[in-house]
Symmetry: C2
Subunit: 272 residues, 2 copies
């Protein structure tokens, strides 16, 4: 890919090789949410390092990331360690630190989405959504939301009005957010931006009226197919809010109706 | 706990300390399925090592395990590495090898289930199941199933007749298995046996008529509460069978009706 084809997201998640197993990156302040660098963007940075060290298996089929401290704008150090190389896949460990302080640690199995068989027997169904132009543009949300979450402007995010009650102080209580997402610069989705989309929407706890920061403990992502061009439909839900924690499941559906990515995270409930 | 209070499962998953960060274990042939040591039992062994090195945060709140090769009966070496110690939790990496060959690698955050707040706002509902005596006892399954899966006798597993069609060659095609589980010796469930229960039932692919071995690539488990005594209700389902892989979600409900554990795995589809 020539540099002129790079998206804003590609550039913002780029890593610079320092050795066979180490990289540096510059985390951009424009990817912050509530004072910390967004976890989905951090996943994108990690995936760029993994891809650089796994040319034959370039796609992060499954990544499990433990969030150890809030990411800050500025330089980051990334190390990768090959744990096992198979015929068509490779498993790595990855650590991301800033000024020597651990921010994330991950395990990942890389593969080649383009070389997978083409069977599809998915029983899940995509969310029923109004067209993007009939959804709520998150960048136009009231109440200082955008100011506290500059990352909102890096995406074009449209929330289904039926699940956007939180923006008017009327959350549904169901623990469900759904809508559309694409990159703000119009770049088409790819496997690495899908990883970021899995942790880009407002927290699902907004729909149960809990608006504080909900720190992710762990997030596992599955990539299942290369996405078709166009909008990505997102469904975010929680079913087990208990014991000071909650799980958040995310599904990404491409414009062809394929369930291209799934994730689940365990997070601490907001204090507020 | 005095040795006389140890369950068969406690003894079978016991680890022996070799150094501050290393342990050995003896993997029992009676925990095999289709020729390999069961992944849930391996999780139990891993959890015993983590607990030994995390006395103040003894419960594996979240564990992500990558399966690297089939486990064999016999000795195993386990190493743990503390990544970050917090006030009430600690994150570790763990590797399990046999004869120098990697079998699993994990990340885990340990905590204290007994010290969590007691809020419960779970919207998920437990599976509707007939009483255990009206379910199908897996140990009595026909067709050589038990002979190829000796682990079946280590549990008391009862499958809801409505989801047990696979045992008569009539899978429902829904991708759903549910039923009851407890340890064969009658020991009550605890956080570590819950981990094993999450990967104990027959593979959910049986219910779509795919009976071959489905190797797990990655399994992430969430423990959310200390289970009440009694039977554990299990619900296992898949919604995205595609591209040669599938995801399998598992829920465990205790006798008080609490959703005490959840897991998701990514696995390769059986060849058969």
């Amino acid at each position: 890919m020539s540099p002129s084809n790079l998206s804003e997201f590609d550039i913002a998640t780029a890593v610079k090789r320092q050795s066979d197993t180490s990289f540096t990156a510059e985390l951009g302040a424009e990817w912050k949410v509530a004072g910390a660098i967004n976890g989905g963007y951090l996943l994108g940075v990690a995936a760029q390092a993994l891809r650089a060290n796994s040319p034959k298996a370039p796609d992060p089929l499954v990544v499990s990331t433990y969030y150890l401290g809030p990411g800050e704008a500025g330089p980051a150090d990334i190390t990768t360690r090959l744990i096992r190389a198979g015929k068509s896949s490779a498993t790595f460990a990855l650590d991301l630190t800033q000024n020597g302080s651990p921010k994330t640690t991950s395990l990942a199995t890389m593969g080649n989405l383009g070389a997978l068989p083409d069977d599809v027997a998915t029983s899940a169904t995509p969310p029923e959504l109004p067209d993007p132009e009939h959804c709520v543009d998150v960048a136009e949300a009231p109440g200082g939301f955008v100011e506290s979450a500059p990352i909102v402007k890096r995406y074009d995010m449209r929330i289904d009005p039926d699940t956007a009650g939180f923006a008017m102080g009327k959350p549904s209580g169901r623990g469900l957010l759904q809508g559309w997402i694409r990159l703000a610069d119009g770049a088409e989705p790819d496997p690495i931006s899908l990883l970021a989309f899995l942790d880009a929407l407002p927290p699902v706890m907004f729909d149960v009226g809990r608006f504080g920061w909900a720190p992710t403990m762990e997030l596992t992502t599955h990539l299942r197919a290369i996405p078709a061009p166009g909008w990505i439909a997102v469904k975010l839900y929680t079913r087990n809010i208990a014991g000071g924690m909650f799980e958040e499941d995310c599904e990404l559906w491409d414009s062809s109706g394929r369930l291209v990515a799934q994730s689940r995270q365990l997070a601490r409930q907001p204090r507020g």
